[in-house]
């Protein structure tokens, strides 16, 4: 079963931020039910997710089957996911999920295992080309719960013009970032050269987890032991605090779009965000500096760190256990949206889950993204990770804003984490 061509479509049915420039018309060959049916899709809007959603909506709506997707942001998706999966019947039939939540949703039996469907349709849609490690990241207890669509990893964006002018080398550690930031400040170019997304209600815990990952640790172990009040936890926290003098004093209110804005505005020279945000930096409609940005794998926390300051986030499609629709039809829709042509067309906005799709030639940050994946710590799969992360976040913010000391913060986070983990 192949695609019928990479025809860009003109509508904007998925409410995408990128329009349908990256959408592809593909074959979506399912057995339609006899009565009029609506397939409701829950997926947040972003440059990296929209191409896949748009493809599914535009290619799989036919006959008496309508695939429906309403625009929503990530926070809305999180809330609606909880609500739709709660009862015997839900509002959505296909939901976007990510590796972080798979263990808890799988433990609660909220998602349908996809292994049988995967086997049935793998050859039709070339699903074996989807990275095995990403499939593992969307699995729990040996079962696949989401069909990987794309992945995101931390990438460092920096101002190549400023680095060249000052003779700076691309930072590979936090210390080198500080050295570069000092040089940029000394040259009077910027007051706060480093920009990281540390939004107090979301991104800040991801940043802390990335720092711990660089040191080979995480908030919890795979067997559920909370490991916050540890030497690695302390070192990671102190490393983050060491960057603070080089960041905007209001950094704990900055999400990724605000970090992008700092780069656009020439108020920051180095930023580390998820790769899905990188293509925006290269678009001249967003900034007059679009040609001044270059990309690299994120640095390590220290010279001796095992991994980079990095997080891998895998996005995929899941089927809610409470959907009343035919799982075969839903899986075909999901598989169609991630087929080879659809995945190819999503580059460079996204980093598709299929092997070898992104290279230095077809994506401005392709090499950096590939290097980042190679340097990232493999994700810890633990059912309590999401709950622990939510619980410790307010305390982490208190530490970073100086309201409590690092040691007190670690003690409190350990206690809060253990309470969340039950």
């Amino acid at each position: 079963m192949g695609t019928v061509g990479a025809l860009a479509i003109t509508g904007c049915s998925a409410g995408s931020r990128t329009g349908n420039a990256n959408a592809t018309k593909v074959t979506c060959d399912y057995t339609a039910p006899s009565s009029a049916t609506t397939v409701n899709v829950l997926a947040y809007n972003s440059s990296a997710i929209d191409p896949f959603t748009n493809t599914m909506v535009s290619s799989c709506t036919k006959g008496n089957v309508t695939v429906k997707h309403d625009p929503i942001d990530f926070g809305g998706q999180v809330t609606k996911t909880t609500a739709t999966l709660a009862g015997d019947s839900g509002s959505y039939d296909i939901i976007e999920t990510y590796g972080f939540v798979i263990p808890s949703l799988a433990t609660d039996k909220k998602l349908m295992p996809l292994d049988d469907l995967y086997k049935k349709y793998a050859s039709d849609y070339g699903l074996d080309k989807i990275s095995a490690s990403l499939q593992k990241g969307m699995s729990f207890d040996g079962k696949l719960y989401a069909l990987p669509m794309q992945t995101q990893m931390y990438v460092m964006a920096y101002r190549k013009d400023i680095f060249a002018k000052l003779g700076l080398k691309i930072p590979t550690t936090f210390a080198e970032m500080i050295t570069a930031a000092d040089a940029i400040k000394a040259a009077g170019l910027m007051q706060y050269p480093i920009a990281l997304p540390w939004l107090a209600t979301a991104d800040v815990s991801t940043s802390y987890e990335a720092a711990m990952n660089s040191l080979g640790s995480d908030f919890v172990t795979s067997d559920g032991k909370v490991t916050l009040n540890t030497p690695e936890g302390k070192q990671a926290l102190e490393a983050l605090k060491s960057l603070q003098p080089y960041m905007d004093p209001q950094v704990t209110t900055f999400d990724q779009p605000k970090v992008q804005q700092q780069m656009y505005n020439n108020t920051a020279a180095m930023s580390i965000m998820f790769s899905g945000r990188m293509n925006d930096l290269t678009l001249d409609k967003n900034s007059t500096l679009s040609t001044s940005f270059a990309f690299a794998s994120p640095p390590k926390v220290t010279d001796s760190s095992k991994y980079a300051y990095d997080r891998l986030s895998i996005d995929g499609w899941s089927i809610p256990a409470n959907t009343k629709l035919d799982p075969d039809m839903l899986f075909v829709m999901m598989a169609s949206s991630v087929n080879e042509d659809a995945s190819k067309a999503s580059v460079p906005a996204a980093y598709p889950a299929r092997e070898g799709m992104v290279t230095a030639d077809n994506s401005p940050y392709g090499q950096a993204a590939n290097d980042s994946i190679a340097a990232a710590m493999p994700p810890v799969v633990a059912a309590d990770l999401a709950a622990v992360t939510t619980k410790i976040r307010p305390i982490l913010v208190q530490v970073l804003t100086g309201a409590i000391s690092v040691d007190d913060g670690l003690t409190q986070m350990q206690a809060a984490g253990e309470s969340a983990a039950g």
Binding site: T79, A86, A200, Q250, K258
Partner: protein, 290 residues
Amino acid sequence: MKRREFWLLFAPSFLVMGGLLVIPLIRTIQWSVENVRYGTPGTFVGFDNYVTALTDPRFGRAVLFTVTVTVITTAILLVLGYVIATGIDRLTKSRPIVLGLLLVSYVLPNLVGAVAFSWLFDDNFGGLVNRFIGLMGGGEVLWFTDQVPNAILIIANTVWHMLPFAMLIILAGLQGVPLELRESANIDGASPLQTHISVIIPTIRGVLGFVTLISIMDVLRMFDNLIPLSPQAEAIGNESIMLYVYSVAFANGAQELGLGSAINVLTIILILIMLIPFIRGIFKEAKALR
């Protein structure tokens, strides 16, 4: 009016009020004593949710912040609303244009207005106010991470959004003040300030009470404008009660619907307490009219 006609006319309102107000209120009270998760029947937990809320320092901070903002904002709304309404009351031909311009902030969706308002203070998006402060020789103000500047920002936005409503109602009240009363005060030698304090304001006391009542109810329920205006509200103690409810009951996949309901019941009690003087006034007036 015959009984049948009365019920014919009253029934639609009764049904709508019952469906949209009474049933949700009963359900909220029921859930407040239960542990409720989406899609599953609640289990009775007595007053555990109330104990959890009342012993959470975060709830105390949210109440303190919300009440403080409510009191300050309502006072500003009354004073500014009265001053502006008095000015507009004197306009003749230009009144529709001025009113139209003043109403822009009120008709904008609160969230949209708050996002645009936040940009005035955010250097990432121009930060016009910051630039002005800089030009006047002032230093950097941390509008989003320092508690007091952030509270000022929130109050300023709330006043900006609600002032047209207060002004419009007061203006309607001013137009109902008999001209003879003002002329009498003038003949008696009252200064303009004395006329306002001793004649006009007492005359429109009911209107001012209504504005106060609505303002208190609206500000106590503030929520959406805090999303752009106070991104780390919890950390700096500028979390409103409704934002607190959202955080514990819904955000990040939380399912504490029982706790959220208990906090809502407590909020209703708080609103009633703050409105007691005005409710009592309304009853007195109604009694006097009988």
